[in-house]
């Protein structure tokens, strides 16, 4: 359970991110017309991620071949790729809301896994679930510290459109 959620799924997201780097600039510029400030991509990635946060989805994805295939395809293509394309276009507020919500999700799920007396997945033992909960709380805590540090001492300009390496803005 820990491996699937904290190693495999992040790696699949990274695959989607790598894919996004292979897209030529003119394709990204076309996508931009439907993805103002990265909102569409963020909505798509969040919806897909919500599905994979269901204990039931993760449980089925341990054995059922169709769900395994769905996971390997949808996590890179519907989470990693749209998010990687959209992140550089997101404004400061959108990024801030996303990051805080991301941290909060780790805290919520981590806490649930840690204290739940029942197993949420039939394919994983209770101690695995609790270990995952602990790791998620630690990871969320780390992210929060990083975020706080960034807010207090970081440079917000690095959050700006200088990240747009290859894709030109629509208006020159």
């Amino acid at each position: 359970m820990t491996t699937q959620m904290l190693v495999q799924i992040p790696l699949l997201v990274a695959v989607g991110w790598l894919l996004s780097r292979s897209f030529p600039a003119h394709v990204l510029a076309r996508v931009e017309r439907w993805n103002h400030r990265g909102i569409t991509g963020l909505v798509l990635a969040t919806a897909a991620a919500t599905f994979w946060m269901l204990p039931r989805s993760l449980d089925t994805a341990t054995g059922h071949p169709l769900m395994v295939a769905a996971k390997y395809l949808s996590v890179p293509l519907l989470i990693g790729l749209p998010f990687a394309v959209s992140w550089p276009r997101m404004g400061f507020v959108v990024r801030g809301v996303f990051l805080v919500e991301f941290v909060a999700t780790f805290f919520r799920l981590g806490w649930l896994y840690l204290i739940s007396p029942i197993r949420l997945c039939n394919n994983y033992a209770l101690n695995d679930q609790q270990r995952l909960g602990g790791y998620m709380l630690a990871f969320g805590g780390g992210l929060l510290v990083w975020l706080a540090w960034k807010l207090l001492w970081g440079r917000f300009e690095s959050f700006s459109s200088t990240h747009l390496r290859s894709a030109p803005m629509p208006q020159q």
Binding site: I39, P55, Y124
Partner: protein, 215 residues
């Protein structure tokens, strides 16, 4: 590609429309994936599923604590309460056994009329021969030998068919035992799995059976 504030504005509208559509699709997908926001775990899902659509059960060859052989089909005509165990189990199966012992007392009358029966099926057949099954039953039933048998599937394939039909997932733990989803399964006289109950609270089980028997 057009440029200027107009295209920026259309991009906003396009984004809003596509995002709203994605949200809608996401909500529909999530509803479908959770049986209408009822079942977020596999364990709840299998309960929702059998209540909606009773599941036919395979006629797998079983051997009980006295070595007698039968199949689930042979038990048709009566209400059957089924649980899955392994006799070395230190935790859940003990709770299941205790629950079954109480049900055996509380349902003594319909059991005596041969309208209800209890069946504990071992998912560890190689280590649960009839002698072990008999010892397991002996740990729980003090007074009566009636209406409760323990059995093991005779083939690995039979075991696989049974766990698939009932929705039982068994995983090995670090102590040489197993972790498994423990529940009490209700099979109707037509031999279909019609309901699944949690351990510990016997009231709904008893009520369901008595209600069905009085119909």
């Amino acid at each position: 590609m057009t440029t200027g504030p107009d295209s920026a504005l259309t991009a906003v509208w396009r984004t809003a429309v596509v995002s709203a559509a994605l949200l809608l699709v996401g909500a529909v997908a999530l509803a479908a994936a959770t049986d209408g926001f009822q079942a977020f775990t596999t364990e709840t899902a299998r309960r929702v599923a059998v209540r909606r659509q009773p599941a036919d059960l395979p006629a797998v060859a079983l051997e009980n604590q006295s070595g007698a052989r039968f199949t689930l089909a042979d038990l048709r005509g009566k209400w059957l309460l089924v649980d899955f165990i392994y006799t070395r189990c230190p935790t859940f199966c003990t709770a299941l056994g205790a629950d079954f012992a109480r049900l055996q007392q509380q349902l003594a009358r319909p059991i005596a009329q041969d309208r209800v029966q209890l069946l504990s099926i071992s998912f560890d057949p190689t280590r649960d021969p009839p002698s072990q099954l008999a010892a397991y039953l002996g740990r729980f039933r003090g007074r009566s030998m009636m209406g409760w048998q323990a059995a093991r599937p005779l083939t690995p394939d039979g075991l696989q068919q049974l766990t698939a039909a009932f929705g039982i997932t068994v995983i090995a733990d670090q102590h040489g035992g197993y972790t498994h989803n423990a529940a009490i399964h209700l099979v109707d006289p037509e031999g279909r799995l019609v309901d699944i109950f949690d351990l510990g609270d016997l009231h709904p089980i008893r009520e369901t059976i008595l209600r069905n028997l009085s119909q």
